[in-house]
Structures are given as C-alpha cells and as structure tokens.
Amino acid sequence: MEYILHIIIILNIYILLVLSANLPIGMSNLLSVAQASFYGIGAYLGAFFLIKFQLPFIVIALFTMFLTGVSSLIVSFASVKLKGDYFVLATLGFQMIIFTILYNWVEVTGGSYGIADIPHIQLFGKVEVTGVYGYFVLTTFLSLLIIFLFIYLKQSPFGRIIKAIRTDEIAVAALGRNPVSFKILTFFISAAFSGLAGMIYASYVSYIDPTSFSIDESIFILCALFIGGIGNVKGPIIGALFIIIIPELLRFIGLPDAVAANLRQIIYGLILIIIMYFRPQGLWGETVLK
C-alpha cells in the first residue's frame, strides 16, 4: 500500500513539473530545456527555508515560488531576445550554469554531498505532515488544485493570449498586447510551480543532491511532456502518468536491476522517436511544436 502511495506522490510531483513545463513549451511555443533548473532552485530554496525557519507551509511555499519565479527572469529575458534554436541554447546554458552552481558552491549547497535531514512541512501552526499518508494527501490536494488552476488558466484571457503568442506573436503585438510581459509572466508561473514541486520533493525525500536536477532531468520532463502531448492540460497529465507507471510495470517483469534502468531509458527514447514521427502532438496533445 505504501509503495503505491509513494508512486502516487512522485506522480503528483511530476504532474506539477510537466504541467508547468507545458506552460511555456506547449502554450506559448518556447522550447525551454531549463525546467529542471527551476525544480532544483525550488528544492534548494525550500530546503533552506525549511531548515532555517519554523514557518507554516504556505509562507515557505509562497517564498520559494516567488524567488524561483524571480530566477526565471533570465530565461524570459532570453525568450524575448532570442528566437528558435538560440533560445533553446540559452536555456541549456542556464540549466548548466545552475547545475554547476549547485554542484560546486559547497559552502551553501553542500556540493555533491547535497543537503540531508530536511525537516517535514508544517501546516498551519504545528501540524506536521509526516509519513507517506500525510504527503499523499498533501500532494494529491496540491496537484488537483493546480490541475484546476491550469484548466482555468487555459481558458482565461491570459491563456488565450499566450496561445495567440504561440500562433503569431506579431499579430498579438499588433492587436495592442505586449508579448514581452506575457512571456515573462508565463515563465514566472512555470518556474514558480516547478519550484513548488522541488520544495515538496525536498521535504518528502528529506535529502537532495544536484544530480536530481541535471540536464537529464530536464530531458526526462521533456520526454513526459512530449509523450503525453503539448498545449492542453490532459496531455501533460497523461505524459506524467505514462512515464511514472512504465518503470513500475517493468519492475514486475523481473528484469535484473543493472539492465532495468537502461532499458527504461531505451523505451522512453524509442517511444519519443515513434511519437514524434507518427503523432507529433503527443498522445493526447492539442498542438504541434513549431
């Protein structure tokens, strides 16, 4: 039972991550490969706040989300200034710089040793969320909340404008909306929710190290997003579900551990190639990446 709950918790975290990756990539067509860096920034900031201050969950979450959002300004600056491949490169650069900082700034981030003994989240006052059950309830609640938030966002004026930016940025500017501020907001929201996911992950696992937030993690998130589909809300959820469930199913086939990890990656890669050829919008997506 606890095993299933654990999987659901991880799934909820990934739903958060993939949904927030969908916002810039799917909704406004800005292929960012820096999603894992926001996840990492959120995890480290969250860990820092949780260790230093005994504040309720909501305060820490808001702080973490805000600061992670601020860190996304560099990427949104790049998205305004650069187009196409160059933007992808800039986000890649950002991802690698953040990873190097997490890995090498030993005094603050603990370097490759990471940060251990991160305390649990405290809800209002002194109610501590502990154990698998507590986190199961918390993350399920949060991911449902955020799924509804994204469904709302998608049909709100904001969502319609960023979808319009996806289709034709110049037309949006000509109709009197400023694409720059919408891009900044897109990345801010996306980074903030990735940061929230990172913070929950840090407190749930209670140990973080930089390798969880490397470029491979970014690629993993992209895999989930593109397998599921981009541009709407159900696509990313399906993607997260797919990418979390597949390895657990493989576990039951009884492969040796040494092979299982690699085989899983091979399956993801093959599925990605096949999906990109036959169904570039993903299993349940709405648009094709331009």
Partner: protein, 289 residues
C-alpha cells in the same frame, strides 16, 4: 608554465574544433539540432575500445574501423530518423526532440552492453616529449598531429572541392539547391557520413587519452556546440577558431581560477555571445526565423 597551459589548451581546442565541425556539418546544412551526435561520439569510442583493447588490433586500424562504423551509424540516424521527418516536413523543434530520443536510445544501449563504469584504454605510463619546460604526452601528440591534419584537409576540402561547394550551397539555400537539380538526400547522406567521421575521430583521440564512459557524450557535445556558436554559425572555419579559443580559455581558467567553475564560465560565455553577438566572432549577421 604559462606556455604549458597554452599548449594544453590548444590541443584540447583542436579536439573541440573537430567535434564542432562534426556537429556544424549537420547543423549548418540541415538546421537539425543533432543532439544524437553525442551518442555517435560515445558509440565510436566503444567501437574503438572493443577493436583496440579487446580484439588487440593496431591503433590506426582500430581508429579506421571505428571511424567507418560511426559514419555508418550517422548515416543510419539520417535514414531512420531525420529523413522521414524531413519528408514529412516536420518542424525543427520536433526533429530536435526526436534527436533527443535517438540519443537516449543509443547511449543507453551502449551502457547496457558495456556497463556504466569508466574504462581506460592504456594502463601504462604515457610516454612524453619534452622541450625545455614544455611537456607533451604521447596521446596529446597524436591529437595534435591527427587532429591538425584532418582539420587542414577539411578546410581545403570545403573550400576547393566540388563537394565542399555543394555543402555550402545546401547550407545557403536548400530549395534552390534542389531546384538546380542536385539530389538533396544523397548530399545529406554524405554530410552525415562526414559528420560521423569527424565525431569518431574526436572520440578515438580523446578515448586513447582519458578513457571512456557512456556519459562523456553530452559534455563534449555541449562544448562543441559552444565552440560553434562562439566561432560563428554558418561557417566551418569559424568552428576551428571557436574550438581553439574555447580550449585555451578553459585551460587558463583552470590555471588562474579553479577547474570547478570551468563549465559555469563556459556557459556564461555562451549566454554573453547569444545575447550580444549571436552571429559569433566570424559570422555574419542574419535574421533568425
């Protein structure tokens, strides 16, 4: 001492230039963001390892086999993944995502078969050549000689041969190229083969020096890409300038600063170039669409 770092940086730079040429051949002509180049690099290193270390073939023969097989692999990447997407007129980003998938598949197949650990090709202490205070190891000497020769051949090849002209034509305007009666698929196949050869060359030269593991592909790929951007997109000789300056810069960073921050500074440089001079040192300004 300074001179020693300069020469080390120069040799690393030559390796970067070769990889950058391998990547730029594909990127400049087809606009494919060939991330699977990282995987071709890794596969080439393991072919070299199996022929040289396990089968015990002579060094040069192992290198040639590895180079040819990687050219084949590179062609297979084009035939199986990129060409179908090109025929479907898929967008550049979609092709890039497929390329990520391809890289994941290839690298993990290698890791599954050979294991994740680092493998060293020669265990003996490397022979060195000394001139005064300068020390160059035997693998470095090989890198300098082979790398230099191939780069010079390549520069002349691109500039003066008929095929080099075609590569330039394709990178300038693929539609016009096709309209004038050249077969775009055949040219692309040759380009991918050439790219595989350069990637494998880099791979063999560095594998002989520092050994191999399945995850060396991505860092090298990223460095090569930075070298290409710094030098200038759209020109092949710019890759060489970019690679060598990147190598020397990294080497001096290690000398004056610390090796830990080498990557961060490389990427800071990349970001600075992207923001302020996206066409690179030698490139000419053109609009990105």
């Amino acid at each position: 001492m300074l001179l020693q770092f300069l020469i080390n940086g120069f040799i690393t730079g030559i390796l970067y230039s070769i990889a950058a040429i391998g990547f730029a051949l594909v990127y400049n002509t087809t606009r494919i963001f060939h991330i699977a180049a990282a995987a071709v690099h890794v596969v080439a290193a393991y072919i070299f390892y199996s022929t040289y270390h396990i089968l015990g073939l002579p060094l040069v023969l192992a290198g040639i086999i590895s180079t040819l097989l990687s050219a084949l692999l590179s062609i297979l990447c084009e035939w199986c993944v990129y060409r179908p997407q090109y025929i479907k007129n898929a967008s550049i980003n979609v092709i890039m995502i497929s390329s990520i998938g391809l890289m994941t598949v290839l690298i993990n197949m290698v890791a599954m078969y050979f294991g994740n650990e680092t493998k060293i090709l020669n265990n003996n202490i490397q022979a060195t050549y000394t001139w005064g205070t300068l020390i160059v190891t035997h693998p470095q000497m090989l890198q300098l000689i082979f790398g230099g020769i191939f780069i010079i051949i390549f520069v002349f090849f691109v500039r003066y041969s008929r095929f080099g002209l075609r590569i330039n034509a394709l990178s300038n305007n693929p539609i016009l190229f096709e309209t004038l009666g050249f077969n775009i698929y055949i040219t692309r196949t040759y380009i991918f083969a050439l790219s595989g050869i350069f990637l494998a060359l880099n791979s063999c030269l560095s594998a002989y020096d520092i050994g191999i593991n399945p995850y060396t592909g991505m860092p090298l790929f990223i460095n090569a890409m930075v070298a290409m951007i710094i030098g200038g997109v759209g020109r092949f000789d710019a890759c060489i300038l970019g690679g060598i300056s990147l190598g020397i810069l990294q080497s001096f960073l290690v000398y004056y600063f610390s090796a830990n921050w080498q990557n961060a500074i490389t990427f800071l440089l990349l970001l600075l170039f992207l923001f302020f001079r996206p066409q690179g040192i030698l490139g000419y300004k053109k609009r990105t669409v």
